[in-house]
Amino acid sequence: MNELIDWLAAPFRFQFMQTALMAAVLVGLACASIGVYVVLRRMAFIGDALAHTILPGVVIAYLNQANLQVGALAAGLATALGIGWLSRRQAIREDTAIGVVFTGMFAFGVLLMSTTRSFRDFTHILFGNVLGVTVSDLQMIAVITGGVLLTLALFHKELELTSFDPTHAEVIGLRAARLRYLLLVLLAFTVVSSIQLVGVVMTTALLITPAAAASMLTVRLWRMMAIAAVIAVSSGVIGLYASFYANVASGAAIVLASTGFFALAWAFNSARHLLSPAEPSSDDESELELEV
């Protein structure tokens, strides 16, 4: 028993592991809670696009020896607002527009990277490196997570209403498009903090997978966010141990851990449906007298 505790505690004697642990917890909380909205509003593709379009911003910041996170944030916010704007004019389908913009931006980032002849410097941007999180990174992650959670809590009822019934929102004078912008901006901040953990290529996984797993386990929004947060944070911790003891890439380990949780949730959900196929889902009495 003591050996197990030693095994679990040993990594955190190191300062960088403590920093990494806190980063994993904070990023997990932000990604999981906003991820529930991303899943419910079917914005998964946008989240992915947002993560990828950050690349040129980071590379430009690197080339100019500016703060990488500021570059990421600028690119992320520009994309968030650009996507919001594109989807309002209906000349082209939204997913098509996003696909065009996001691959174009990503390719631009890769092109810029290839001019530096130091491709290796960017692997942690592409695939994440939670063990490389510095204290100043952690401070920024903490501010972003705090801000995202606070904003989600303050505008919860409006975000919820515009997510499931935009027409009623419009009738009472609540502009659904503005809430969408708000969500996109929050998403940009969240993505910037999560690329530290899993990189631009896999950030969507942290947004989508825990929330998608949680959505199969409950039909209550708050519970869904709580379960998603537990899954995201646990995945981060499991990924940390894996990279410490097995010396594997931390970002990939975190993502695979959350994929594992998703598989468990899916299996549990399937088993539950098999055991009770005749769920009294639609109605008890009045369905029978459905009229002509």
Binding site: E158, F164, G173
Partner: protein
């Protein structure tokens, strides 16, 4: 100061009818084809108006325009003397086929509570009084046992009653109902009829699109007949027999 739209609260204009539509023209955004052409009518306060017409005659479009969901091409709409959107809480709208995401994780009780949001605005949470109003209308519509159900686990009729419950929770003065009796079960039909009766007793104004001409005489005070070929006509209900629909 917490209100969702930037417009300030406006009181009804004294002496104004509940709804006054004048020379209204509304076109589809994509084709610019006119759906409503020079529509003019008035609904007095406390009246029950049946909006009738063939499919495609523009009943839904008219209700959406009054609810402030569609831009007006020309003409005017006045609700208690004010333009649409001047006072959002005064108008409740029940769409025919709502674009609600029924799989969204929200309970019936919270769905009905969204009818109170227009009174709360930004940052404010439901008060005990708001919950009381919500539970009362849920009870009135016979949904109390289902109030903690996720909305996708309700039957079609129950969903329709839930939507009506939300419109009632808003405590609006003018209710726009788009074919609420379409394809619902007998129980729902009875409950809705009872609710309409109750609203009328409390002096609320109702404009309801409907197909059911047989029951018009008992339940409505006037009919608004939309027809592509002729301008909209308003008739007292006792003349209904003479209108060639």
């Amino acid at each position: 100061m917490w209100s969702y739209s930037s417009r300030v609260h406006k009181d009804p204009v004294p002496g104004a009818p509940a709804l006054e539509v004048r020379d209204l023209c509304v076109a589809y955004a994509d084709t610019r084809r006119l759906v409503l052409k020079n529509v003019t009518f008035t609904v007095p306060i406390g009246a029950r108006a049946a909006l009738i017409g063939h499919n495609g005659s523009g009943k839904s479009t008219l209700l959406k325009a009054i609810a402030g969901l569609l831009p007006i091409k020309s003409g005017s709409i006045l609700i208690y003397g004010n333009p649409p959107g001047a006072c959002h809480h005064r108008v409740a709208y029940l769409p025919q086929r709502s674009d609600i995401d029924w799989r969204f994780p929200i309970t019936l009780r919270k769905l009905v509570m969204t009818g109170r949001y227009v009174h709360m605005g930004w940052l404010r949470r439901p008060s005990r009084q708001d919950w009381q109003i919500v539970d009362d209308v849920i009870d009135q519509l016979g949904l109390t046992d289902l109030s903690e159900r996720q909305i996708g686990q309700l039957s079609g009729g129950q969903q329709q009653r839930a939507m009506l419950a939300r419109a009632l929770a808003q405590d609006a003065d003018l209710l726009l109902l788009d074919e609420p009796l379409n394809a619902v079960d007998v129980k729902t039909r009875d409950v809705i009829a009872q609710v309409l009766h109750d609203l009328n007793r409390r002096g609320k104004t109702i404009v309801m699109a409907t197909h059911e001409l047989s029951t018009l005489a008992d339940e409505f005070d006037l009919t608004l007949s939309l027809n592509r070929q002729r301008p909209l006509t308003a008739h007292p209900i006792d003349e209904l027999e003479r209108i060639n629909l």
